[in-house]
Symmetry: C2
Subunit: 257 residues, 2 copies
């Protein structure tokens, strides 16, 4: 989480050279510091994944920068519990209805964007009853969310983008530039579902195409960054996947430098 937020340049997102008015580099780093006891509990598998995600949101809610790492926790908790991607896939398969309920409690504590047409609105007290009535596990919830949310999709598809991005980090011969390069690769190949929810698919695709131009050397990363900031386009879900990829790569021997 620390390496991801410090990496620069990352078009649109908070980094060393760019804050948002209400969410600054220091807020992301405070969250990184505050979550440690919960990550240690995850390493010991001291609680279920839903509970760990809820504890992580609680542990990091005392800074005033708003939601910083909710999506990252959704990816990190199974990875840390399982130790790696195959382990995470095993953990995910054992999630329960209680994990789903705990996840909804965590969701309710954040200000994460929810689709208006979303059937299981987190702010609706009936949602919990529906989860119980349907017997939905946290994995089922992620299947339900996967179409619209690329973080949930990682749970369902075996952490495909996490794996691909970790491989990019592992293949890089310059650790310092590896994270911004891996992030740019994601930005140029995937529509960020956070941007889709915030602005619609057209804007997400426009962002992707501009990132592809940067990747081909037809546009400067600085101009893309400036455009993202002006348009308030912050690819937050791709940052979450980058964090999961850094965790995975470090676990496989990647060294930052």
């Amino acid at each position: 989480m620390m390496l991801e937020v410090c990496a620069s340049p990352k078009p649109g997102n908070v980094d060393r050279c760019h804050d948002y008015p209400d969410t600054r580099l220091e807020h992301f780093l405070a969250s990184t510091l505050m979550v440690r006891p919960v990550l240690e509990r995850a390493e010991r598998r001291a609680a279920g994944i839903g509970t760990l995600i809820r504890e992580a949101v609680q542990a990091t809610s005392s800074h005033r920068g708003g939601n910083t790492h909710f999506g990252a926790f959704i990816l990190l908790m199974p990875l840390v519990c399982g130790g790696d991607i195959p382990g995470a896939a095993r953990e995910i398969g054992t999630t329960t209805v209680q994990d789903a309920i705990e996840f909804y409690r965590a969701f309710g504590m954040t200000e994460v964007r929810v689709c208006a047409e979303d059937e299981l609105d987190v702010h609706d007290p009936a949602a919990t009853e529906q989860i119980h009535a349907r017997g939905m596990t946290l994995y089922d919830l992620m299947v339900y969310s996967a179409e619209k949310d690329m973080v949930a999709r990682e749970w369902v598809n075996g952490f495909t983008l996490t794996r691909r991005t970790a491989d990019l980090l592992l293949a890089s011969d310059d650790a310092r530039s590896a994270i911004p390069a891996a992030f740019l690769n994601l930005l140029a190949t995937e529509q960020d579902s956070f941007i889709v929810k915030k602005f619609g698919r057209a804007k997400a695709e426009q962002t992707r195409l501009m990132a592809a131009e940067v990747l081909r050397g037809q546009k400067s990363v600085e101009s893309l960054d400036a455009w993202c900031i002006q348009e308030k386009v912050n690819p937050g879900s791709l940052a979450d996947i980058t964090i999961a990829a850094i965790y995975t790569a470090l676990g496989e021997g990647w060294q930052w430098g």
Copy 2:
């Protein structure tokens, strides 16, 4: 520690906008993350101050950025054990010969600059025997070092600069600029003893006078920063005192934002 290293601009030191070739922002932040269990032990007063300093150096030595926070740990451990400056003064009064031995073990693990003419050279195995023979406590060691080292001087003079800098933070009405402003105030009023050891007193005084010009608006902070970087003048001891001041101010209700 996190707020101090992120604060910018800080002439000469690592910050958001400036790394050293071998020591980067991320190394300071890794140290900040790694030391947490030792700071928690200090809060519980689970070990003596010498042992805590040695544990902190060990806990933070696995990154490859060299020594990042040795001086900060010397100030933080009594502060965290005691809870505040009066508590730290009480803790310091109870240090033992064993604390001094542990401190020397920690010192030996770092690459901290030692004066050539220093009688108790840390790299000399006889130093430990001398400490035993003289019955020197860690406090006695700091008295011994106070003339040449402003971090040791804080132990001896009741954390004078820490107190003054914490008061500046508490009096500031803009949290974001408070840390760089407090650091500049230190830089303009005190010779950094780390710079004295590295380059001699003339260079340290030259740095101080230039910072005083910045404080009076006669010079830009950017030009001082550029000069420090070119001359490799990194006021590390003033950064340590700034960290102790941030800890003190936060404990007295200061909020970063």
